[in-house]
């Protein structure tokens, strides 16, 4: 997100971001994105709160053009960072000879999604469930629509035959 003069109309309902109600309207969306993006061992609520702290700690949050996009992107980035940490832990566990997926909390179907990087999960969710066009997904995740589309394609490819025709 570029730093631009405050444009409060980007907040839902045109709310002033100093009005506590602004977060009420964003929160359900942010929580769902966090649930989708967060690795299995990370509490989605923590991601939302961490992202919100980062937002509030900005020198001038009012200059963030779209808090919704900023927070969404931050959540996904934080999830990516956690995933990298988890990857390193898994590597270490593997060297110790312990089963890597011993703590997979998801049954097989949902476990498939766990194979995807957080960003790809988020893109797939925002596009296929929330119904955002790829350009809008790009706005939310601080990338171009083309990048979002490509991330979705990558995600679909990673899932391979596990996904169904609905995504084509």
């Amino acid at each position: 997100m570029n730093a631009e003069p405050a444009t409060l109309h980007h907040l839902p309902g045109g709310r002033d971001r100093h009005d506590d109600g602004w977060f009420d309207e964003l929160y359900p969306h942010l929580h769902r994105v966090a649930c989708v993006a967060a690795p299995g061992d990370v509490d989605p609520a923590d991601l939302v709160q961490d992202a919100l702290v980062k937002y509030l700690q900005l020198d001038d949050p009012d200059h963030v053009r779209s808090p919704r996009a900023f927070l969404t992107t931050t959540i996904v980035n934080l999830a990516s960072n956690h995933r990298r940490s988890w990857s390193r832990q898994r590597s270490a566990v593997a060297r110790l000879g312990r089963p890597v997926d011993a703590h997979n909390e998801y049954p097989s179907d949902l476990g498939d999604l766990e194979q995807l990087p957080p960003r790809e999960r988020a893109v797939l969710y925002l596009h296929y469930v929330d119904g955002f066009a790829f350009d809008d997904v790009g706005d939310l995740l601080d990338c171009t629509g083309a990048a979002a589309r490509k991330a979705a394609e990558r995600g679909r490819r990673r899932l391979g035959g596990l996904i169904e025709e609905e995504t084509r």
């Binding site: 009420d24 509490d43 919100l52 931050t74 990087p117 797939l124 083309a146 490509k150 996904i163």
Partner: protein, 490 residues
Amino acid sequence: MTLHDRLTERANRTPPGDPQDVLAAARARAAAGPRSRRSIPALALSAAAILGLLVVGIGALTGGGGDDAESVTVAGPDGAPSGETDSAAVTVSLEGLDGVEVTSSPLMQAADAWFQHTLTLHNTGDQRIVFGDPTTGTLVGDDEIAVATDGCGWYSGLAHSDAAGEEALMSCASAYQTLVLEPGGSQSLGIKAWRDLAGMNPVGDGPHTWEIALAPERGPASVETEISGVITVTYTHVSGWGLRRADGPQEAPRTGSPVGDWQLDSVAVDGEPIAFSTAIRDPWVGIGADGTLTGAYPCNGFGGTVEIRDERLLVTSLGQDQMGCEGAEGAAESAMVRLLDSDPTWEIRDGILHLSGAGVEAQLSLRTASPTTTEPAEGSTAVWTTDDTAPPSRDSESFTALVTRLECSSGQTGEVLEPHVTADGDRIVVTFTVAPLPEGGYECPSNDQVPYTVQLEEPIGERTLVDGACLSGPALTTSFCTEGPTRWAP
């Protein structure tokens, strides 16, 4: 369970809390103090100097020198192509980024790209550094950056920066993920610069630049640290590198891609050609972008997997039909089996694919149409998919293709020209083109899909529908073709 269901279930896996509680907690944490400002110690040791001793020709530089950018130039290796490329170089400059050291290997030739090199970042500080995605490139995985000249690698675009009127590396901000440098950690990045295979964006001698930046305007990742700055990578005198030399002398680096369907024109063992006939089968070799190997010997069909290396095709899992095959056809077949089994070297000269190995040499030309129902039309490249709302079936004698122009055209695919359709016993290849665009600049959003009814001469039957644009040409390296050319299979 569908993907939609899985995503929905995952999105609802934990109930949301009270937003006001979340906000209050976050405010409390935020109010606990300003962002922690961990001190960044002065560099105790220049790891770059050590690296410089270890790797001949490696340049290194260190951040933290104030506002002035520092830079180091790494020239090409002694074995660089002749002429202007003798001075080909990569220059890495670093502005800000206290505690960051950067080194680069010299430029190297790449079989499938313009050129490549390795960039190594080292974080000598104690603060975690999170870079945003590079501009003009894409962070692919955790350790490779693709610097694209053809539109962020997935569509053919015109959004490149062309200061001084010269086409340059694409200025696409493709943010897929961030790059994390842990305190004391290093990250090596393979940098591969791509250029448009079809010459739509001819690349000059440079300089061409791209950046990895850590700055507030590059997104929220940067709020994790107090460090800011930019690493700028500049290439100069590179027009003689890699694919640019496709029409050059014999010693030119390997060019083109062996991906595609190739007709076997000749095969020779120890220099002696084998005069096989095509009475039983028209032998061919299909090298898929997805690593599949298919084709036919003079008698039997075959299949396997293939990995394209700089000089060789690494063939594995080679299997074939077991029909008896005698005479010259049998000899040619045996020779081809031996050739493919040897992980042959490949080279494309004058449009001919030359395979060589185990004393066998084969020449193959790009497969052309067999029974053609329509002639190709002049136009710009387009890709297509089937219409999921009206998918074809085995009995279909026509189907709806959704056609998308490959190049940038401000979102409009425009007029779809009559497709080129070829068919054989295994597949139906449909290649679309679209009406050329008038001169001018065009934006690069996704182009729309234009429905087009493809008429076939007979039902599809057991054949696959294949997008010919994903067999060869400029679309081959785009995301439209990453899942292969097959658009529908019975």
